[in-house]
């Protein structure tokens, strides 16, 4: 339906507010350009000197290393000279003005207008490009674009400069003589292949392999797959290519698993396997806000309970009196059991609350022991009190420590650890419990 907004007259363009400073800056810029052009005529570049300087610069590994970019687009590898190399070349070539300007920035609409230019002041060749940079982050190389709006000013600034830098790269390429750039690229490649570090090829291969292993956790097999031949047959050229890849990864143009995919092999499928993944964790119960975000498993390959059926039997330590009468929920799905009291009514339908089953979910013996020790030090000694405190902390009632999952235990152990470190641990615990109870109450109301 049309609204008044739709029918409103087209907005009359309003001249942007221009400060006095801007006006001065504008006239200063005009004068500067004129002066630069005059200076360029008076002091023309010495091409021979420029070539020599370029050759020296490109012989430096520090420049050669950052001279190329590489990324994947539509499954193909795109490569070329980086803006850093081209800027350096422009500086050496001389009498080239270049840069990027932020012409306007609009945080409400979420876009900026950027200008990138390169100008050969002597030949009077100028290449400039204005570009509208959306304040979004493309989370994709190609194909489907996932645009995420940038809010942080710093992110916007970086998006602007990154985009403009790419335009600057093109502008510089147009203004600088092709042969000059090509020779520089060639020399940089040569430098990458022969860095003059006094190492033999074999030593350099070993060094690169170590670097990949330590830097990107890429082992020899993956590196060899990337190069396409065994490390023993690598040439200086291969090493140079690897260096470019590594720099591209560092810059974020390429991801490690894209550059060095860990290909699945028949051997991996059919070969030896290690015990079991720590079969899982289940986070605290019910509506409450995501409690302590997806806990990092403490150690990945926990040897504990494989997926086998027998419970890892978390001990009911001291447990003096009455063994817990109520059935734990670990056994088959309860048929007509009413939902636990704290559960929100959820749907109208009769609902049995299914909990993740499987012994591997249970907290380990060590964790249970640890919790008991922590709670004792906080003067929570009786079994009931312990279960009560734990239940409050994880957001659902515990009938026995069997109900505690490994992830929950990890979370609570960390929490108690911090409480124990507080100046007055017992008080800190009381306060936390009060807060948790309140949070749970409001959470339940809100979640319904």
């Amino acid at each position: 339906m049309s609204t008044t907004l739709d029918l409103a007259p087209p907005a009359v363009p309003v001249a942007p507010r221009i400060s006095q400073g801007t006006t001065i800056e504008q006239s200063r810029a005009v004068a500067e350009v004129q002066a630069a052009a005059i200076m360029a005529r008076q002091f023309p570049r010495d091409e021979q000197r420029a070539i020599r300087t370029m050759q020296e610069a490109c012989a430096r590994p520090s420049l050669a290393k950052i001279a190329f970019y590489r990324y994947r687009r539509g499954g193909e590898v795109v490569t070329g000279p980086t803006v850093k190399l081209l800027q350096e070349l422009a500086r050496i070539w001389g009498n080239v003005a270049f840069g990027i300007h932020e012409l306007s920035i609009d945080h409400t609409v979420g876009e900026s207008e950027m200008l990138a230019y390169a100008w050969d002041l002597e030949g009077n060749t100028r290449s400039s490009q204005t570009t509208i940079v959306q304040h979004v982050r493309d989370k994709n190389v190609d194909g489907t674009k996932v645009a995420e709006r940038l809010v942080d000013r710093r992110d916007v600034y970086e998006a602007n400069t990154n985009n403009a830098a790419r335009r600057l790269r093109e502008a510089l390429r147009r203004v600088l003589p092709g042969w000059f750039v090509e020779e520089a690229e060639e020399r940089c490649r040569h430098t990458l292949e022969n860095p003059g570090d006094g190492l033999t090829l074999a030593q350099r291969v070993a060094k690169v392999l170590r670097g990949l292993e330590n830097g990107f956790n890429v082992d020899r097999v993956r590196a060899e797959a990337h190069v396409g031949k065994p490390a023993g047959e690598w040439t200086a050229w291969d090493l140079a290519q690897l260096t470019i890849t590594a720099e591209s990864i560092k810059r974020g143009d390429l991801r490690v698993d894209e550059a060095f995919p860990l290909r699945a092999t028949r051997a991996e499928v059919t070969g030896a396997t290690t015990p079991a993944p720590a079969v899982q964790q289940a986070a605290p119960n019910t509506p409450a806000p995501v409690p302590v975000a997806a806990p990092e498993q403490p150690a990945a390959p926990t040897p504990a309970a494989p997926v086998a059926q027998q419970p890892a039997a978390p001990i009911e330590e001291p447990a003096p009196a009455a063994p817990p009468a109520p059935v734990t929920e670990d056994v088959p799905p309860p048929v007509d059991e009413p939902p636990a009291p704290e559960e929100p009514p959820a749907r109208q339908q009769p609902a049995a609350d299914t909990r993740p089953t499987g012994s591997a979910l249970a907290a380990t013996r060590q964790q249970v022991n640890r919790l008991a020790a922590q709670l004792s030090s906080l003067q929570v000694t009786s079994r009931e009190a312990r279960l009560d405190v734990l239940g409050t902390l994880i957001g659902h009632r515990l009938v026995s420590s069997n109900d505690l999952t490994r992830a929950e235990a990890t979370t609570v152990i960390d929490l108690l650890e911090r409480i124990c470190a507080a100046p007055e641990p017992a008080r800190a615990l009381d306060q936390l419990l009060v807060e948790m109870t309140e949070a749970a109450d409001t959470g339940t109301e809100g979640g319904a």
């Binding site: 994709n140 290690t274 799905p333 049995a352 609350d353 299914t354 499987g358």
Partner: protein, 292 residues
């Protein structure tokens, strides 16, 4: 339906080993959860309204899916009972009645010749050196339901893995295989199927599930494509980096749309605010110019 599945409610993230298909697809999370097939429906060019409608009006069973289900049942060893109907096709009233009865009983109806084919397929899988190992009875659990909460959006997500292995590979990866039946399993056909049915989104989604629940730090998701026609050739593939990255991006995109529509309680259809402008697709435009 006889197998009136008990209504379950899931309020805690985790791996739920015993949910039936029906319980899983009925979405047992009180406030709703998003599955990878839901995500596919939510993504452009589909408007969110389609997903919103479809989740309250599930599609009726279709013969192609029944065949796939039957194959899954025999390969994975779990799933609803098969009801073999001794008829050459579904054209006769008798066959159709048998099919209706099977649906009524919660079974999957298959024609006798289809059943024979499915048996052949399961057999081929068992004998395949890689696929046989991937679905080796006892080495994993079939049809596992995973529920977790997305860190970024707070959206509940769910996934139903064909197979969740008990062990991790020598390279420290949890290898999750997914079984697909198809007409052709050649590289080209598989690549197109991945794009068309957005299998890359599924691969990303399921890998994210396993990682979010701490099942493994590294996941290797493998597709086991098997041709429906004899000799039921099998092609085990992994997806390339670009496909996976795109898959992850799609999953983020779908989650964002879901979170936004849920928060606004508004599931828009095609835009009603503006009249769309439509032209011929690029390929047709070229043709047009040439014949003009």
């Amino acid at each position: 339906m006889t197998a009136v599945a008990e209504r379950v409610v899931i309020t805690r993230p985790g791996v739920y080993p015993d949910l039936t298909d029906e319980q899983y697809h009925g979405d047992p999370v009180p406030d709703g959860s998003l599955s990878s097939s839901g995500a596919k429906l939510l993504l452009p060019p589909n408007p969110p309204a389609l997903y919103h409608w479809r989740r309250r009006n599930p599609e009726p069973p279709r013969a192609v899916f029944d065949f796939g289900k039957a194959a899954h049942k025999l390969v994975l060893g779990t799933g609803p009972e098969l009801a073999v109907v001794d008829a050459p096709d579904w054209r006769t009233a008798k066959a159709r009645a048998a099919r209706a009865a099977a649906y009524e009983a919660g079974h999957v109806p298959v024609l006798a010749h289809e059943h024979a084919e499915v048996l052949g397929m399961a057999d081929a899988i068992r004998r395949h050196p890689v696929a046989g190992r991937l679905f080796e009875p006892g080495a994993g659990a079939a049809e596992q339901s995973l529920f977790w909460i997305d860190d970024d959006t707070g959206v509940w997500r769910r996934a139903r893995l064909d197979w969740l292995p008990h062990r991790i590979s020598s390279r420290g990866r949890l290898i999750i295989p997914d079984y697909k039946t198809c007409d052709s399993a050649d590289r080209d056909a598989v690549s197109k199927a991945v794009e068309r049915y957005r299998y890359h989104l599924q691969a990303a989604w399921y890998s994210e599930a396993a990682q979010a629940l701490g099942l493994a730090e590294q996941v290797l998701f493998l597709f086991v494509f098997q041709e429906r026609k004899a000799p039921h050739l099998i092609h085990v593939v992994e997806l390339g980096a670009l496909a996976l990255r795109t898959g992850h991006d799609l999953s983020r995109q779908a989650l964002a749309i879901y979170a936004e529509c849920t928060a606004a309680a508004h599931w828009p259809g095609y835009s009603a605010d503006e009249i769309g402008l439509v032209d011929l697709p690029p390929w047709a435009r070229t043709t047009e110019r040439m014949t003009w």
